[in-house]
């Protein structure tokens, strides 16, 4: 038997497609996300995870050993009491995949979130 689509069917199809698009967007935003986050790790423990937005202005002081400054969509190891200063020299991080590591203090500052130009930097 031949059936015809009624106007109600079109409404349902439209609603389903809209909901599917919305659900897809939510799923896609799940882990990679469309935002940037700064993560601060100490001894393999996540100390802070902060969304980086234009208005971000925060200083994270790890008992004076490492001072991390989050400013707008950037993060940097402002100072460290370690000998080699590799983490401070790493400079300002602005993209997912960038990492500043203080090996002596076992502190890691990393940027995660939206996929950008690169997946990692080799240095």
């Amino acid at each position: 038997m031949r059936s015809r689509l009624k106007w109600g069917d079109f409404v349902i199809i439209g609603v389903v497609l809209a909901l599917a698009a919305a659900l897809t967007a939510v799923l896609a935003a799940g882990t990679t996300g469309d935002r940037l986050y700064a993560e601060v790790w100490q001894d393999n423990q996540l100390v802070e995870r902060v969304a980086l937005t234009d208005g971000t202005d925060r200083t994270i002081d790890l008992d004076g050993h490492n001072v991390i400054v989050l400013s707008g969509k950037s993060a940097r190891m402002e100072s460290a009491d370690c000998r080699d200063q590799v983490c401070v020299r790493t400079g300002t991080l602005t993209r997912a995949g960038q990492v500043a590591v203080c090996l002596p203090n076992r502190v890691v500052l990393k940027i995660v979130g939206e996929t950008g130009e690169i997946d990692a930097i080799v240095s």
Binding site: D9, I12, I13, V15, V16, L17, L19, A20, L23, T24, L27, A28, G30, T31, T32, W41, N44, R83, D84, V86, R89, T90, G91, T92, L93, T94, G97, Q98, V99, A100, V101, L103, R106, V108, K110, T115, E117, I118, D119, A120, I121, V122, S123
Partner: protein
Amino acid sequence: MKRFFAAFLLLFGLAGCAGRQASYTTDFFAMDTFMSVAVYGDNEDSAQQAAVACEQEVNALEPALSRTREDSDLYCLNHADGAVCQVSDETYAAIEAAVQYAELTGGAFDPTMAPLTDLWGINTENAHVPAQTEIDEALTHVGYGNIQLLGDNQVQLLNGAQLDLGGIGKGFATDAVSTLLAQQPEGAATGALVQLGGNIGAFGENPARDGGNWVVGVADPDNNAEFVATVEVRDASVVTSGDYERYFEQDGKRYHHIFDPKTGYPADTGLRSVSVIDQNSTRADALTTALFVMGLDDGLAFCAENNIAAVFITSDKQIYTSDAVSSVCTYTFLGAEKGYTDAQ
């Protein structure tokens, strides 16, 4: 009612089609550096199992490659006063690889530089320029020819030589992780980004990019959070040696950690960094050091002769690539705004 049920199925079907892969990342400290292993797979549990297995593999390798841990094979070997030592399979394989690359590079990479690196004390409180007599004395113990591989996992060090596998250790671990990932059940690790210190391994498919490749930035030596070029790779390792992370300054001069086995001084060849792209990370690890020591002209000639993909960054901000680069990756120069020149 049937229509609503069909609509419900369709909704999740459509959303599911656009679904993404699960991933799991583990960060950890090992081999005196920071490491990160991100595994992508069909579900998070299997990705996690694979990532944790990689971390365990690296941790298990550490005693085989460390020379500072008192329970390590190398510590035993370096304190044996020339006696024959029995080492593990992993240590023996790593020493064999180190000797192989020392031979390949004519000693530009040499795993017996420990007396010199200890003397200079880079990255210690004792970092200083030694007296020439001290350097000359240390050099008498340097030379990969002092390593005797006797078979059956037996090794002997002659002439007071000291073995240090730091120059290939992270590459060796990256290769071990690569092998482990390939052994995972189907779908458990469809892609992985492995960062073991300065060694990057990019394996399988990157679900975040069209085409599935991995894009690795080559660090700007003046600001190593930034990059001056990218290489797009798959199933390859990218390794960099540069003068900008481990160094000290004395009397206004910078002394870095990449030593020339001939002079006993930090290699002064007008290079800031060398990056190598290779399927074998151990080889890439050894070659970055060797090419840095060789310098630009000899390094490029060596790359041409041995089909090695390498990116050289010079002190005067020129970036050179060897001919093989275009055959193993997509290279993009991005350093113009930072004052670099694409010297092709």
